[in-house]
């Protein structure tokens, strides 16, 4: 166990989740080390989205959602705080469908700042440009920053959403299938971006793309039927899977 693994950024401890009477996750424990990319993989319906959305408490809105166990961010239980919105400033999220708001590119970028901080708009715009550069988007949009964000392509919109999520300098960013609506080239651009981002942040990504999990992630958890069937370093999981289930899943012989 190295230094990073001893102090995980996110620690999921014996988490059980149900929606009403429907038990979705059972006794899930995962340590996500700082500055790493952790991939959640597994067949559809096994609870990956449920798990990742419980890390920034997006499931609090769902009627019947019930979580037991603990989710820790840098050692503090996120579910003890009465105000989930404070947590969501520290943990960014990028969704499956790019979701820029129906305003201009620049307004999308500075909204998180105007929402939480006072300051000169010109300063916010500068910060926004930095983040757009960090997401390799600035060059493509610098002439239309004040045009509607909807005029961008899907891949550009998704990078805009990533850049927007960076505006609040979150220490953790959650990605739920961020590339599933994108073409291979946009997907590659975003994968490169993820690797760049993990230098300063911790990343959790849900993906159905085995190649993607193998390429970008340091750790992988294989969800199956509401439990973690296997988890650990990505290299180990993909080259010497312990369970037959995982072996079948990553080789695509799964049914």
């Amino acid at each position: 166990m190295n230094e990073e693994e001893k102090n995980p950024a996110i620690k999921i401890e014996n988490v059980n989740i149900r929606y009403g009477d429907n038990r979705v996750l059972n006794d899930v424990s995962i340590d996500v080390p700082k500055n790493s990319i952790y991939a959640f993989i597994g067949p559809s319906g096994c609870g990956k989205t449920t798990m990742i959305r419980s890390i920034n408490r997006m499931n609090d809105f769902v009627a019947g959602f019930k979580l037991t166990g603990r989710v820790l961010l840098n050692g503090t239980d996120i579910y003890t705080d009465k105000k989930p919105q404070v947590l969501r400033k520290k943990i960014g999220m990028v969704f499956q469908q790019p979701n820029p708001l129906p305003v201009s590119i620049m307004q999308n970028m500075i909204l998180p700042l105007t929402e939480h901080y006072r300051g000169a708009i010109s300063h916010f715009r500068e910060l926004a440009e930095q983040k757009l550069k960090a997401c390799a988007l600035y060059g493509e949009v610098k002439d239309k920053l004040d045009k509607p964000a909807f005029e961008l392509s899907g891949g550009q919109q998704q990078r805009l959403c990533i850049a927007r999520a960076l505006m609040l300098e979150p220490s953790v960013i959650l990605f739920d299938e961020p590339c599933s609506a994108l073409d291979p080239i946009s997907t590659h651009t975003i994968e490169d971006l993820l690797i760049e981002l993990k230098k300063e942040r911790t990343i959790i990504i849900v993906t159905h793309n085995m190649e993607q999990a193998r390429r970008v992630s340091d750790y992988t958890a294989f969800f199956y039927n509401g439990v973690i069937a296997e988890a650990g370093q990505t290299n180990k999981l993909f080259f010497t899977p312990e369970t037959e289930l995982l072996e079948k899943y990553i080789t695509g012989k799964f049914s």
Partner: protein, 324 residues
């Protein structure tokens, strides 16, 4: 396969032709109404000139015109125009606040089954005939206002200018507000429900509270539909005759803001109510022309309203993009 698509093309063409024909008929009908109304009002416009818009005394003028052997075409609609503007503006402002607020509560806060039954209830309310609102106004609102605000001293104090009876601007605004709230609520709730979930999630994910998401994301995104609901309500308000005729007091005074609160107790006479109240006199050539002049001015106000609303909406769309 090929034959099928050929067939589809023909049927598409036919339905397209029918559609455009129907649309054409609609436009022609509207044009016809405008031309007809303005032609019938023409003698009044010619005779009264600008005085039509800057002088008052309509009720008296109608009585004189009805009794006179010679046709008289000189009328002053200022009191009626300001009456229409005052009642509708105030009612629209209050109805929008209440209606949009209720729409937010229904579609964002109420649990599903409750939201569903509330929506049905609101739709039902929106379809209540206005005469019933008028009746409620006469039986409940007017007595309520007079028991609350009207005293004998007040009546004596203003006796030389107008009668304070409980019927007047305030009663009109309240009744009209009741009428318009369901319209605004039902249509705004639809607009709010149509705001995609992913936009709201974008807001929550950047740490917005529920209140901020409503304010910064739901209302701006649903803007077009919400504005449309307000415009529709405004149209209904401007045109409302029966309910207002029952509670407005029937005198076309220009609201005098220097009176402060008493302005609200003073009688008014909106254009549409004036048309209704005086329709018995339409047998007289000049009274009929006067009523058509009222109608023409109403049409003008409605047109200006809808053009402004469109302009505002397209300006905002240009400025901040559109959700679609």
């Amino acid at each position: 396969m090929k034959k099928n698509s050929g067939k589809r093309k023909i049927s598409e063409k036919i339905s397209e032709t029918i559609m455009s024909a129907l649309a054409g008929i609609g436009v022609l009908a509207i044009l016809f109404i405008f031309v007809f109304v303005f032609l019938r009002a023409l003698p009044v416009f010619k005779e009264s000139g600008i005085g039509l818009f800057i002088s008052t005394g309509f009720e008296r003028q109608v009585v004189t015109a009805y009794g006179s052997a010679e046709p008289l075409y000189s009328f002053g609609l200022l009191g009626l125009i300001t009456g229409t503007l005052a009642t509708t503006t105030l009612a629209i402002v209050t109805a929008s606040l209440i209606g949009i607020g209720s729409a937010v509560v229904i579609s964002e806060f109420a649990p599903r089954p409750l939201a569903y039954s509330l929506t049905s209830l609101v739709r039902l309310l929106a379809s209540i005939p206005s005469v019933i609102f008028g009746l409620v106004g006469v039986i409940i609102v007017v007595p309520f206002i007079s028991s609350l605000f009207v005293t004998t001293e007040l009546q004596l104090q203003y006796l030389s200018r107008f009668q304070i009876t409980g019927r007047g601007l305030l009663a009109s605004v309240i009744v009209l507000t009741f009428m318009l709230v369901p319209t605004v609520t039902a249509l705004s709730a639809d607009a709010i429900a149509a705001v995609p979930k992913r936009f709201k999630e974008a807001g929550y994910a950047m740490g917005m509270t529920r209140f901020r998401v409503i304010l910064k994301i739901i209302l701006p995104t649903g803007r077009s539909g919400i504005i449309a609901s307000v415009i529709l309500a405004a149209g209904r308000g401007i045109g409302e005759a029966i309910a207002l005729a029952m509670v407005c007091g029937g005198i076309g005074l220009v609201p005098d803001l220097s009176l402060g609160f008493v302005t609200l107790l003073a009688p008014v006479l909106p254009l549409s109510a004036a048309i209704m109240v005086n329709s018995e006199g339409a047998g007289s050539q000049s009274v009929s022309a006067a009523l058509f002049a009222c109608a023409a001015v109403l049409l003008l106000i409605g047109t200006v309203l809808s053009i402004t609303a469109r302009a505002v909406n397209s300006y905002m769309r240009k400025k901040i993009g559109d959700a679609a």
